[in-house]
Amino acid sequence: MSATTRLPYLATAAVSGLLFGAGLYVSQMVDPLKVLRFLDFGAIPRGGWDPSLALVIVAAIGVMFVAVRIGRTRQAPAFDTAFNEPEFKRIDAPLVLGAVLFGVGWGMSGICPGPAISLVAFWPPNLLIYLLALFAGSYAGALVIPSGRERRLAVAR
């Protein structure tokens, strides 16, 4: 039995998911319009701009920053043999192009992948179409770029 199917590992994933979902609701980032009101910088001079998203992400980064420092003092996480830290470091074309395309999709909808899953709780009209497209896009992306750590690292050298 691999580490990732043992009970403490799965329980950690479950509690993390619960906290993440609660955070998306409490911060109201589950509401696409709330997200778009942050991205609407035209409203800064006009009035009505909503900076909430910036506070959400800064607070989350602050907590995670401490966790990363704590992690650096340890050999391994509590329930697996190693931290899965990305080893691919290069700024390459897929990173840049991917961020551009994601930025367009996010700006069109006010939805990024976390809230997309979170919204399943409230199941608004057309969510299914969005989710199917999200999975199809992700699958297409996996066919286009070299997937797997070893292959990407080999390309990087």
């Binding site: 961020a99 939805i111 179409i129």
Partner: protein, 153 residues
């Protein structure tokens, strides 16, 4: 600034940070939602914990909506959740608009290895240069997209 909600924003951000911290220190995994669901697809590895995490994310949203009702959308006292439509003058049906947005987001986060959570929260906290670049680009492009579509008005 009528919709600015600093206290729920900070509280929700701390919850998201704690979720990410727990998954990192417990399982050594980055709480990047695009990566977690993207690898449910073939060639899939370690599907079980990913499914557990995503199901719990939905349940956590529902539970919070019952415990703290009336914060924005969803739950017993909230407005119904609603997705946005294309700008009226563009004449694009809503399902098509959302399908294009979903395809771009799925494809972009896959080839760019992350979204708002993986790059935005975890990557910045790890001081990853790739994440700083990705976050700078996708925030800028999203802000430009909203300006071009005028979708908020």
């Amino acid at each position: 600034m009528d919709s600015f909600s600093p206290i729920p924003a900070l509280a929700g951000g701390v919850l998201i940070g704690l979720a990410s911290a727990l998954l990192w220190l417990g399982n050594g995994r980055i709480a990047g939602i695009s990566g977690i669901f993207g690898q449910l697809l073939p060639p899939a590895r370690t599907v079980v914990w990913r499914f557990v995490f995503l199901a719990a994310l939905v349940l956590g949203t529902l539970a919070a909506a019952w415990v703290v009702p009336g914060l924005g959308v969803g739950g017993p006292a909230g407005k119904p959740a609603e997705l946005v439509s294309a700008p009226a003058a563009w004449g694009i049906p809503t399902p098509l608009w959302l399908a294009i947005a979903g395809l771009l987001t799925g494809f972009g986060t896959k080839i760019g290895n992350g979204c708002t959570s993986g790059h935005g929260v975890c990557g910045i906290a790890r001081l990853s240069l790739r994440s700083f670049v990705a976050v700078g680009i996708f925030f800028s492009v999203a802000i430009i997209t909203v300006a071009v579509t005028g979708i908020v008005a």
